[in-house]
């Protein structure tokens, strides 16, 4: 019994309205860890989008063809962890053997992403919403794009903040937290769009 939401609705919903970071508070670790430089933020965003898309496709295939028919949906978390870890491992080996430059660019981020809660989160969200495989892929793509968008916005702001003269006690991470809070408030404005 699949959900009947249209693909565009799912995409916009995941990218902006139910944004992974600012509305659902998933993947906060890279949000603060990798948002210091714009270039790093972009590569992290692309890596996360890629892994999310792969993971969501694989997990939704497993969900729709294995978990639902055998009525073992309660096993989803442990099976998803297994599948996502194996997938990222395969992707890492493949990239390493075929394109060493890409591997060096993504290399640090790929293992980090394996246990990223945003990646597991999107798989679980797809499961709870009963999305079909196509819907899962679009929702993962939307979530990835939303993640990248917020990471880029945040790193742009933080690059500017470095130049500004914040009070001494607020410099660095504290002012980033304040910024994140304001950003989250701004993204609340999207709620009710659809």
């Amino acid at each position: 019994m699949n959900s009947s939401a249209s693909l565009i609705t799912i995409f916009i919903g995941m990218a902006i309205i139910n944004n992974m970071i600012l509305t659902q508070f998933l993947g906060l670790c890279p949000f603060f860890g990798v948002s210091k430089k714009l270039s790093n933020a972009i590569s992290m965003g692309i890596a996360v989008t890629f892994v999310m898309l792969l993971a969501a496709t694989a997990t939704s295939v497993i969900y729709n063809y294995i978990l639902v028919p055998y009525e073992i949906e309660f096993m989803d978390i442990i099976i998803y962890i297994l599948v996502i870890a194996a997938l990222v491992q395969i992707v890492e080996i493949t990239i390493r053997r075929t394109n060493i430059i890409l591997y060096n660019a993504l290399g640090i981020y790929l293992p980090l992403i394996t246990t990223n809660c945003a990646v597991l989160g999107i798989a679980l969200i797809n499961a709870t919403n009963n999305y079909s495989i196509a819907q899962s892929m679009v929702s993962a793509l939307g979530a990835g794009v939303g993640f990248t968008l917020v990471l880029i916005i945040m790193s742009g702001i933080r690059e500017r903040l470095e130049l500004g003269e914040a009070p001494k006690s607020l410099r660095g991470l504290p002012v980033a937290f304040v910024t994140a809070a304001l950003l989250a408030l701004a993204f609340m404005g999207f709620s009710g769009l659809l």
Partner: protein, 277 residues
């Protein structure tokens, strides 16, 4: 009860077999990559970019392809560290003559320059140097806003409170030269690490000497140091109008240091203890 266990085991097995298959099917890594990883273990891993490559690993790749890269793009941090250097020499089958490659960065200004006005703009040397050739009387002096302090991967640079200019700790400096590129006024110079005497003036207008209206402690081109030298180690460079030091001839007699009326010749070891006037 049995199905969930079987399915979980099955998925685990399938994943494992998939990884195995991918590992077997794909072509093996090229031999240079393995070597590059060995080289990379002997690199500092700071990714400072001073060697001219985007990161330590790309430097290692370039080294593993052609070991002569080590001479054209020397990693200065490796030069300082016996363990890393011997590791690289072993992996790459090199023999490195340290003294010819090792450098130290030096701020060639003695500071104490007076301001011609109050500067309240963005606190970086790059911005300040664009306005009226900087806010100091001498247009070649160190502005002391610390662009170099930010860029130093070794944290070897600090602001000297007596003289209000950047000071580099020769012990911490690994001669990577990032600060040399960063300084908008080209005040920081790289000198061989075995130099004994450092010349602390960056004045570049050849037509005149800085004189009292530009700087109280600039080089006045008196050439006393050349005459004072007991071993003819100092020669006067007419093109640049500065003294030049021959490291091999210098016998460390300190005659030039005492002769200099402006006290802008100092020993490299004492560079941060220069007297503030």
């Amino acid at each position: 009860m049995l199905w969930p266990i079987l399915i979980l085991t099955g998925i685990g097995l399938v994943c494992g077999i998939l990884i195995l298959v991918v590992n077997r099917v794909l072509p093996k890594e090229p031999a240079t990559l393995k070597k590059a990883e060995e080289v990379n273990e002997n690199l500092p891993g700071m990714n400072c970019g001073a060697c001219g490559y985007p990161g330590c690993f790309s430097y290692a790749q370039a080294l593993s392809k052609d070991k002569k890269v080590f001479y054209s793009n020397t990693c200065t941090t490796v030069l300082q560290d016996e363990k890393m250097l011997s590791g690289i020499e072993k992996v790459l089958d090199l023999k490195v003559d340290k003294s010819s490659l090792n450098m130290k960065a030096v701020v060639s200004c003695s500071g104490n320059c007076e301001n011609i006005g109050t500067y309240t703009g963005v606190a970086t040397c790059k911005t300040a140097s664009k306005i009226l050739r900087g806010f100091k009387r001498c247009p070649y002096s160190c502005l002391g806003l610390g662009d170099c302090i930010e860029t130093c991967p070794q944290n070897a640079i600090h602001l000297d409170i007596d003289t209000n200019i950047a000071a580099i700790d020769p012990e911490k400096c690994n001669g990577c030269g990032l600060c040399v590129k960063e300084c908008p006024r080209n005040v920081i110079k790289l000198i061989p690490a075995n130099s004994k005497i450092v010349f602390l003036c960056n004045y570049q207008d050849l037509r005149d000497i800085p004189g009292r209206e530009k700087c109280d402690s600039g080089c006045i081109k008196c050439r006393k140091c050349v005459k004072a030298c007991t071993n003819e180690a100092i020669t006067w460079n007419k093109d640049k109008s500065i003294p030049e030091f021959d490291l091999e001839k210098c016998n460390n007699c300190r005659a030039c240091i005492e002769a200099c009326p402006q006290k802008i010749l100092v020993e490299l070891d004492n560079i941060n203890k220069k007297s503030s006037k």
